[in-house]
């Protein structure tokens, strides 16, 4: 194992688990130890992890609500301006702007803009696309998207100390502790 060869340029330390149940117990300990810059990497979302990590709710739903309101407003304004103001359509003596006939487009654009907000908002808040990340330099970490579960504590965490944090991670019961460099040097 490539131990502390990359001492000055360490991104963080990772430890690996084989099952979700072992992981959750360890995650609670990391949370209680008071680390701030750390994360859990799993191939699929695990029940109870929000609570175990102490993650608070995301503001994404409000972004999506904003998207929906924007779509609704835009659809209303567009139909009113195009059919009643800029080019009045007089058809069978019907009012130039009548809500019932405009509801389908209002609904569709509400959904469309909400979906855009959900999609772009979620990736934006997650800081993606981010095609390079220091964790990608670890071969072991490739299994984080397959069948292994990882806890990573970053070196920029104020409590991080190469020796003590390594000991702490080793005590959590994972199979291995590995240092991850900022960039691929080997």
């Amino acid at each position: 194992m490539a131990a502390n060869r990359d001492a000055g340029r360490v991104y963080g330390l990772l430890t690996e688990f084989e099952s979700p149940s072992a992981l959750v117990a360890a995650v609670r300990q990391v949370r209680d130890a008071g680390f701030r810059h750390w994360d859990v990497h799993t191939p699929f979302p695990i029940h109870g992890m929000d609570e175990a990590m102490g993650i608070r709710g995301t503001r994404l739903p409000f972004l999506i609500l904003g998207g929906g309101i924007t779509g609704l407003g835009l659809a209303t304004l567009m139909q009113w301006w195009m059919n009643a103001v800029d080019y009045p359509f007089a058809i069978s003596g019907k009012p130039l702007f009548g809500l019932p006939a405009n509801i389908p487009v209002m609904f569709e654009l509400t959904v469309l803009f909400s979906a855009f907000a959900a999609f772009f908002g979620m990736w934006g808040l997650n800081g993606m696309p981010k095609l390079y990340h220091p964790l990608f330099t670890s071969r072991r970490f490739r299994r984080a998207t397959q069948d292994r579960f990882f806890i990573v504590i970053e070196a920029r965490d104020p409590q991080f100390d190469a020796g003590r944090t390594r000991e702490f991670l080793a005590s959590l019961g994972g199979s291995v502790v590995e240092a991850v460099g900022e960039s691929a040097e080997d």
Binding site: F44, G48, A52, L60, P61, V111, N126, F136, T145
Partner: protein, 491 residues
């Protein structure tokens, strides 16, 4: 497995007190990942794939040839005549849009209803949705007559300083289908990103790593990301659910808001939606059965999954049959002579042959799924799916053509017949559809790996803690659970 079954891959149960296993064959996360991603990354492309691809690509070529011919000559190359101004173009459009609905039903509605069996088939069904909507979108695009002003469909400034009429259901259609295609694509892609990351991390070729890596957006399974991802996925499902119901409702408005007997009925929106789901499930099954057979996915797409799909086909098929009966009843009970003529004409007029094909395929076929032997026999169900596909195409044909060909004025009645161009264009759209399906199964993960992992018993973080309730808890993906559940954790 506790059940005394002889076939290890038969997990169809009649015991309602426990749910069947959704992943068979002693798979764990490792083997599941390998079996699904190796289809794309490791396995040599089967020769049959190339043969099929050449055939479907050829058909696609015919589609574009026919479209080119149509553009050069005009819509006169189709069989349209004076009362029948809407022929196969609209029939095919409604047919293909309808097919798409099953994908959204599986991916969104079954997600909200916490049907965990959806995880094995949702990727495939959503892919089918997108390809079907692409095929559907072609027809209104090419049938406008003057294709060079096709942008008039959209509210874009043009040299006449005119805007489209927002009171027209045809314009609602543009927005409904456009939104549907976009949201389906976003939903499909969002669901696929974690699996694309899996492919990136397993790929051995540089090119594969770069391409999958690009589309994986840098996904690394961070739980802080999963947290927002699940929220976004849940909300997208919530948005897609009313959307999919609205799409075929709006499509049905194209007919229902007109004054034509046989079209002007309030039953159309729910009847169209049920028919769409019915036809879509048949198409998913048509494609899924060969795919699971050839690519060794029987452990993930199990007989239980197929049986569940057949039950949905039975339910929606019965709704469709009931709608046919209701239409006839209202035509008689409503006392409108034009309306009752339109329906008698459907069943006994010049298009009676089409009407009875429709009834035998759509009313009789699904009822066979009451019988468990039929519901769980793979070859039999595949044949029945084909009948449903045929029947549902004929339903759209019957609705569109019978009402138009004999409207109010007998002197203007005419019989509509498709031309060779009509037929080849429709066949070509199947070519495009199957080409896209073939590309999908060759280059993208067919089964949503990350999602299937969440429904495997070993995925339960509390396994052992509360085994008896655990069966229930482990069943539901974490994101689909209620708030109280999350707060009930051991803090």
């Amino acid at each position: 497995m506790k059940s005394p079954v002889t076939d290890p891959l038969d997990n169809t149960l009649d015991d309602p007190t426990r749910s069947p296993e959704l992943v068979l064959g002693n798979n764990d996360f490792t083997t599941l990942t390998a079996k699904v991603s190796d289809i794309v990354l490791e396995r040599r492309t089967p020769r049959a794939w190339y043969v099929a691809f050449i055939a479907t690509a050829g058909l696609t070529g015919i589609l574009f040839l026919m479209i080119g011919y149509l553009f050069v000559k005009g819509v006169g190359v189709w069989g349209l005549n004076n009362p029948v101004g809407w022929g196969w173009a609209i029939v095919n459009f409604v047919f293909w849009v309808g097919i798409g609905h099953a994908g959204t039903l599986i991916s969104a509605i079954l997600f909200l209803l916490r049907q965990k069996w959806r995880t094995s088939i949702n990727r495939f069904a959503e892919a089918m949705t997108i390809f079907a909507v692409i095929c559907a979108g072609i027809f209104p695009g090419i049938h406008v007559g003057r294709v060079w002003v096709v942008y008039w469909l959209f509210p874009l400034p043009n040299y006449q300083a005119m805007w489209p009429n927002f009171r027209s259901p045809l314009l609602w259609d543009v927005f409904a289908v456009g939104t549907y295609a976009t949201v389906s694509l976003l939903f499909w892609y969002t669901g696929m990103v974690p699996d694309l990351a899996t492919l990136r991390d397993r790929a051995r070729g540089k090119l594969q790593q770069i391409i999958y890596g690009f589309f994986a957006l840098g996904w690394r399974g961070s739980h802080r990301h999963w947290h927002r991802y699940e929220k976004a996925y849940l909300i997208l499902a919530g948005l897609a659910t009313p959307l999919v119901l609205s799409v075929h409702s709006v499509v049905s408005f194209d007919f229902a808001t007109s004054q034509l007997p046989g079209w002007h009925t309030t039953i159309f929106p729910p009847y169209f939606v049920a028919g769409a789901v019915f036809s879509g499930f048949a198409m998913v099954g048509t494609l899924l059965i060969p795919a699971r057979q050839w690519f060794g996915l029987k452990e993930f797409i199990t007989l239980h999954h197929l049986e569940n799909m057949n039950k949905i086909i039975l339910a929606t098929g019965s709704m469709v049959g009931f709608a046919y009966a209701t239409e006839f009843f209202i035509a008689w009970y409503g006392g409108n002579p034009n309306e009752s003529f339109a329906f008698v004409n459907r069943a006994f007029g010049p298009y009676a042959w089409a009407y009875w094909i429709m009834v035998s395929c759509n009313v009789i076929t699904p009822q066979l799924f009451w019988i468990k032997r039929i519901r769980t026999s793979v070859p039999v169900m595949w044949v029945l799916y084909i009948f449903v596909n045929i029947g549902m195409w004929f339903e759209r044909f019957v609705i569109t053509v019978t009402s138009l060909s004999r409207d109010f004025l007998p002197s203007s009645w005419a019989y509509y017949k498709p031309t060779l161009v009509d037929i080849l264009t429709f066949a070509g759209s199947f070519g495009l559809f199957f080409t896209l399906v073939l590309l999908f199964i060759r280059f993208l993960p067919m089964v949503a790996m990350a999602e299937v992992k969440t429904v495997m018993p070993i995925a339960d973080a509390h396994s052992g803690e509360r085994r008896s309730v655990g069966d229930y808890h482990g069943d539901i993906p974490r994101h689909a659970r209620g708030r109280d559940d999350r707060e009930g954790g051991s803090r």
